[in-house]
Amino acid sequence: MPVVMSADRIERTLTRIAHEVMERNRRLDDIALVGIRTRGVTIAQRLSRTLAEISGTKIPTGSLDITLYRDDLMRHTVGPQPVLRQTEIPFSIDERRILLVDDVLYTGRTVRAALDALIDFGRPLSIQLIVLVDRGHRELPVKADYVGKNLPTALRQSVQVFLREVDDRDEVTIEEYADTDAPSDAQEGSV
């Protein structure tokens, strides 16, 4: 399957995003990173480390599981039920600027769910969105503030993000679905 981002490329991209975050947010002391499970959390942790290295500011980092906020929870006819994982936001999000982090931006439904979930935790000053890959095909009016790579895709293609912490390697690949009737995205885990 074709590799669209190598380990080196991912690292440089995240460093660039960290610099963009510093450029757009003059103060870092009221910022917090919240990653969406599973790989958004990994990316958020990497960004937090990079930001600490280049700015000297330690950014609080949390993780969000959006399973209970999905709009397709009861629509799975086949395939695994989404497994619920821990949400850990060990700081108040009130009066903070939140950087929401995910690996792939696709339909926008995950982000919609994450916004609903975040707002149950309090009232942040603002929420900005960071994604490693934007593959298009939005179904909701969602736009990322920081994009690692814009990747034009067809619906029948699948973008896979592998990260060392969970997958033993850093890589983004794109592949064709085996059968032509690819899962209709509104129903199958596309949130």
Binding site: I36, R37, T38, R39, D65, T67, L68, Y69, L73, M74, H76, T77, G79, P80, Q81, P82, V83, L84, R85, Q86, T87, E88, D102, D103, V104, Y106, T110, D116, A117, D120, F121, G122, R135, S158, V159, Q160, V161, V166, D167, P183, D185, E188, G189, S190, V191
Partner: protein, 329 residues
């Protein structure tokens, strides 16, 4: 989130089952160890919701849950109701005294009428063993057994085991001692099934009049000696003396029962130093358990209560997520 990366996340990260196989929870003996693991992991994540300022998630929004209780219950029903509300379900409580049963309607007719109103989940308690199986056969809704007679009480056993898991690194070889009114307990059977399937070494202890004959067939050690039962125990669980279920004289007096079988600080010294004391509630202080033990450092009784909500949220969520072929839920 992209489909495939979400799916691969699951296969990479978890060794537990991905979903429950049955659409009902009637008996713990229907659950495989990996399904139990799934319930526990889900409950672990559910617990965090109880610590939020807004203790509610939209997962079961628009689902109707009927809590159908033919027998009085305060804490189990409250626990289910809180769990249902935290998941945003619409809940309806129907209890024994408001039921048409008192007007002569049979259980089957009550169930059929209920079915016509199309609830999604029915949480069911009944005095007759096996009643929840009957309901599950009649109704299209998911059925959760919240206690059927002296038979089973699966969510209680799950929350007990979940609480043990928090305090002990493994179930394998753990000495769990259940003491007291074995004869009238619905907690006992579910607990034995579940703890045995997780690998614990279960001991039961009771005066001969309250001992369940043939209990050894479940693979437990049975004794009438409280000292032997508590010796080196990791978990001690006194059962409530079910005063309202006792017709006849099983013990000479409650005071004598306390003297002979009550869990006291002195008796507990025989157990392991990190023993935990559990109780399914409601407690009779000074009957099956001494007050200083119930309130002491080894007691995890109130943790059981809060874990009960998380475990029930997990079960409700997992059952609701199951879709059977051709069925709209």
């Amino acid at each position: 989130m992209n489909v495939s990366s979400r799916v691969s996340a699951e296969t990479h990260d978890t060794m537990t089952a991905q979903r429950l196989r049955s659409k009902h929870l009637l008996s713990v003996s229907d659950l495989s160890p990996s399904e139990i693991g799934l319930i526990f992991d889900t409950a672990d994540a559910m617990r965090e919701i109880g610590t939020r300022r807004i203790k509610k998630v939209p997962a079961l929004r628009g689902k109707t849950i009927v809590n159908l209780f033919f027998e009085p219950s305060t804490r189990t029903r409250m626990s289910f109701e809180i769990a249902e509300k935290r998941l945003s379900a619409d809940t309806l409580n129907v209890s024994g005294d408001t039921l048409s049963i008192v007007k002569g309607e049979t259980l089957v007719d009550t169930a059929k009428n209920l079915e016509a109103m199309a609830p999604d989940i029915i949480v069911f308690r009944h005095a007759a063993s096996g009643a929840s199986h009957l309901l599950a056969d009649i109704c299209a809704a998911r059925v959760i057994n919240a206690g059927d007679g002296l038979h089973e009480h699966p969510t209680q056993a799950l929350l007990d085991a979940f609480t043990i898991r928090e305090h002990k690194s493994t179930f394998k070889g753990l000495k769990v001692t259940i003491v007291g009114d074995l004869l009238h307990s619905r907690v006992l059977r579910s607990n034995i099934f579940l703890l045995r399937s997780l690998g614990a070494d279960v001991w039961v202890c009771a005066p001969a009049t309250l001992m369940l004959s043939g209990v050894e067939k479940f693979g437990v050690h049975a004794t009438t000696s409280i000292e032997e039962a508590i010796e080196d125990a990791d978990v001690v669980m006194p059962l409530r003396m079910q005063l309202e279920r006792m017709r006849g004289h099983f013990v000479p007096s409650l005071r004598e029962y306390f003297e002979m079988f009550g869990i006291t600080a002195r008796r507990l010294r025989r157990a392991k130093s990190d023993v935990i004391v559990m109780h399914p509630g409601p407690m009779n202080r000074g009957v099956e358990i001494a007050s200083d033990v119930a309130d002491g450092p080894a007691s995890v009784i109130l943790e059981q209560v809060s874990n009960g909500v998380a475990v029930r949220m997990a079960v409700l969520y997992l059952l609701a997520g199951i879709e059977l072929a051709g069925e709209e839920f």
